[in-house]
């Protein structure tokens, strides 16, 4: 029996400021199927989903729901057509009960038009039973675990009669048992006639769950697979291509006996990461590789003292650090480039000059803290030139720079302290290809002058091209450490997924 196509996206193209990210993508979701959407970072899958959600508007192409052509301008429109989206970040109200969260916005009313708590709770109980979820509808959501909160997000879509549910990386924070439970719920939703779009990096989950898989690569379709007709390797090849990338730069050589700059021993933080051990030497570039939620950001922040950890030791230059605070770490010549440039990177209303010198104001001022403007200007001018920041001048506002140049300013601020250890969390996120290669060059130069560099990234090419060693992180644990030379991208992907 041929299934009816419920959502059809045809020949979708999309570009951001002249940069084409989708080049005529097709995607068909059949009624009652679980369809996975895969692709490496930057392949365009999240753009495609945001177009379906009405957050972005496609440059050209047709979207059909139930064979009728529709215009989705806002998320509200998407809801009207029976499309529901479960995002990676949870949007539950912690102080409302399970029932109130599941029926949020649609609370059941009694005859007088007031909120009927009992009926809402009863209906939730029925829904939970149908779905085989063991939860008390009257418990406040605050008391639930993350996995249970996620289930609530999914059940929310059921109370709105969604025909199509889009799940964005729903399994990244689940353990094996929770995952089984989650698969059960998805199958029951499918049985109720709901069609599901499943977005995931986890190859095993995709294999286990999907009826079909659509793979995107560099903004075009690169294969559709049906259940039983493919293997994990087929997916990897479709996502990344067969070619193993070659590094243009000659490999970095690090002396075996170079001094250890940072040693982390048995670092643990509840629910974030567990038993992290790592060592990095003078002049070395080491990568930490893992998917979203693997604990990369958490580890970087803990080493720098932005977040507290439970147990473990951080040893800098053979000296155990007892008080770990960002300002003290900077004094010890450790710099961190944070993941979110806008939220934690630069100060938006300040100029390039001030942002670049934010950590070294003391160096360019006298004893009582009066800044020598000439010195500051000269320093900012010099470092932004070395970082190849494209600007009209050092007084330009950082906000008005492109993403890549903003990032170079933040890197300038980090390198201004002449760090012995430089931690970078997703250093090239949202940065164009050209700026990327410039940033890699800057990092390479820093390493050659002796800085120990630790890159936390989910971009495999980045790690393979720059690092001598890659530490594989999976669900907060180090599962492997490999030398980059002997590694192909495909193997790396199957190691982290």
């Amino acid at each position: 029996m041929e299934q009816k196509v419920i959502v059809s996206m045809e020949d979708i193209t999309m570009s951001f400021s002249g940069n084409r990210v989708l080049k005529g993508v097709n995607f068909q979701l059949k009624e009652g199927e679980i369809h996975s959407l895969m692709g490496a970072n930057g392949a365009g899958k999240s753009t495609l989903i945001k177009i379906l959600n009405g957050i972005y508007h496609a440059v050209s192409g047709i979207i059909k729901v139930d064979d009728k052509q529709v215009q989705i301008r806002t998320p509200k429109d998407a809801e009207k057509f029976g499309l529901a989206f479960v995002h990676q970040e949870l949007n539950v109200c912690n102080d409302l009960t399970v029932a109130e969260n599941i029926y949020i916005g649609n609370w059941i009313k009694n005859k007088r038009g007031l909120y009927d708590k009992k009926a809402t709770s009863r209906r939730t109980k029925e829904l939970l039973e149908i779905m085989g979820v063991d939860l008390n509808p009257d418990v406040p959501v605050r008391r639930l675990r993350t996995a249970e909160k996620q289930i609530i997000e999914i059940l929310k879509t059921m109370t709105r009669d969604a025909k199509v549910v889009v799940l964005d990386e729903p399994t990244s924070s689940l353990n094996e048992k929770e995952k089984e439970n989650f698969f059960g719920i998805i199958h029951r939703m499918k049985k109720n006639g709901v069609s599901i779009i499943f977005i995931s990096h986890f190859l095993e989950d995709v294999l286990a769950l999907s009826d079909r898989v659509t793979v995107l690569k560099d903004g075009v379709n690169n294969g559709i697979f049906s259940r039983g007709g493919y293997t994990k390797d087929d997916l990897v090849v479709a996502m990344l291509g067969k070619k193993i990338i070659e590094t243009e730069m000659r490999p970095l050589t690090v002396q075996e006996d170079a001094k250890v700059v940072l040693e982390v021993r048995k670092l643990c933080s509840d629910k974030k990461f567990n038993n992290i051990n790592l060592k990095i030497r003078h002049g070395d570039i080491v990568g930490v590789c893992g998917l979203l939620g693997a604990g990369k950001t958490e580890i970087a922040r803990a080493i720098f003292g932005l977040d507290k950890f439970d147990t473990g030791e951080i040893i800098l230059n053979n000296e155990g650090i007892s008080r770990i605070r960002p300002d003290l770490m900077i004094e010890k010549k450790v710099a961190l480039l944070t993941e979110d440039r806008k939220l934690e990177g630069f100060v938006p209303l300040m100029s390039i000059r001030e942002n670049a010198t934010l950590s070294v104001m003391k160096k360019m001022s006298n004893r009582v803290g009066i800044i020598n403007r000439k010195k500051q200007e000269a320093f900012a001018e010099d470092i932004s030139r070395r970082m190849t920041v494209k600007m009209s001048g050092i007084e330009q506002n950082v906000v008005s720079l492109s993403g890549g140049n903003q990032q170079k300013v933040v890197i300038a601020r980090c390198l201004a302290i002449q760090p012995e250890l430089f931690l970078l969390d997703e250093p090239t996120r949202g940065v164009d290809v050209y700026a990327k290669s410039e940033i890699y060059k800057i990092l390479r130069e820093a390493a050659e002058s002796g800085t120990a560099i630790l890159i936390f990234s989910s971009e495999l090419e980045e790690l393979l091209a720059n690092c001598t060693k890659i530490i594989i992180l999976k669900k907060g644990m180090i599962t492997d450490v490999v030398n980059t030379e002997e590694l192909s991208k495909n193997r790396l992907l199957s190691m982290i997924g």
Binding site: D327, I330, G345, V347, M361
Partner: protein, 322 residues
């Protein structure tokens, strides 16, 4: 050339509007009253705005950190009243003033502790301190007014330099120059902007955010205290209603001066100075028109709301462009 124009606009665009408003006030008022344009009246206005003018410096600093301090009225009244009562009981006026400043600094420290360490929203934290100080001041003053302060103390508020320039006017101008220089030229001043503009990146860059907040709230309370002392000295009295509604006037001056209450890191001491003058001229004009104090309070509220609306519209538009 176009670039230069833009730069000029960025730097002075808003201040030009403020200067024009001041100019219009001055022109209209000089037609209304020939007395207005005289040097003496100008100095009078400067003297009259000294209370909210000095307080507004500290308020601007606190608002730039992304916070607000509504305890300034209470702190000002409480500390100035204590100074006055110490003088009445025979304590040297210098020592009395020092005590008042120390008490104000302690109030600022309580504010900073609640906000910087306990992470309580600034509005609530300073509201609590406002009630504490107002309450204590009412208890110890029992609603009375203290007068007859030492003459050597009265000189601060009533004396002149060269026979024409009142000392309060000198104090206010010197404090503004000092604060403007401090905010633009020192590490601490720039750190205040960084913490207000983006607290997370300031922390990552190694700035000690908590210390910056402590400094800002303490200096804000100290400025409120100095403002109170100048006022008490000028009027030779410390009434129990001292500094009523001061927080609103100080916020109004800062906001009209271009300091942003929607997000931190934006504002200039120089802008606040113009804001204070606008508020002072407006009060003056309303007084001359015979508008009652209660209506004036209403008008002040409307004005603050209007200015904040204008800023919100502009920043929303700017957000859309990005």
């Amino acid at each position: 050339m176009k670039d230069k124009n833009q730069k000029f606009k960025d730097m002075f665009g808003e201040d030009v509007v403020r200067l024009v408003i001041i100019l219009i006030f001055v022109v209209v008022m000089s037609f209304a009253s020939p007395y207005f344009m005289q040097m003496k009246n100008m100095m009078n206005i400067l003297q009259n705005i000294s209370l909210q003018g000095i307080t507004a410096i500290g308020m601007t600093i606190v608002i730039i950190t992304g916070g607000i301090d509504i305890s300034v009225g209470g702190v000002c009244a409480f500390s100035a009243w204590i100074a006055a009562s110490l003088m009445k009981s025979g304590v040297n006026w210098g020592v009395a003033c020092l005590c008042a400043i120390i008490i104000a600094a302690c109030c600022g420290m309580i504010n900073a502790f609640s906000i910087g360490i306990m992470k309580i929203p600034p509005m609530i934290a300073t509201l609590a301190v406002m009630n504490m100080t107002r309450g204590l001041q009412t208890v110890i003053s029992r609603g009375t007014t203290l007068t007859g302060l030492p003459e050597s103390f009265q000189v601060i508020g009533q004396g002149n330099i060269l026979g024409v320039i009142p000392i309060p006017a000198v104090i206010i101008i010197v404090l503004y120059l000092l604060a403007a220089w401090f905010m633009s030229r020192t590490i601490l001043g720039r750190s205040i902007y960084a913490v207000g503009g983006n607290p997370e990146s300031a922390r990552v860059a190694g700035i000690k955010n908590t210390r910056v907040l402590f400094f800002s709230y303490i200096i804000c309370s100290v400025f409120a205290c100095i403002a109170g002392l100048v006022f008490v000295s000028r009027t030779n009295s410390a009434p129990s209603t001292l500094a009523n509604n001061l927080e609103m006037k100080a916020i109004m001056a800062a906001v009209i001066g271009g300091t942003s209450v929607t997000f931190g890191g934006k504002g200039k001491i120089w802008g606040t100075f113009l804001g204070v003058i606008i508020v002072g001229l407006m009060t003056n004009a309303l007084d001359l028109l015979g508008v009652s104090a209660y209506y004036q309070q209403f008008i002040q509220g409307v004005l603050v709301l209007l200015v904040v609306f204008l800023e919100a519209i502009r920043s929303n538009r700017a957000a859309k462009q990005h």
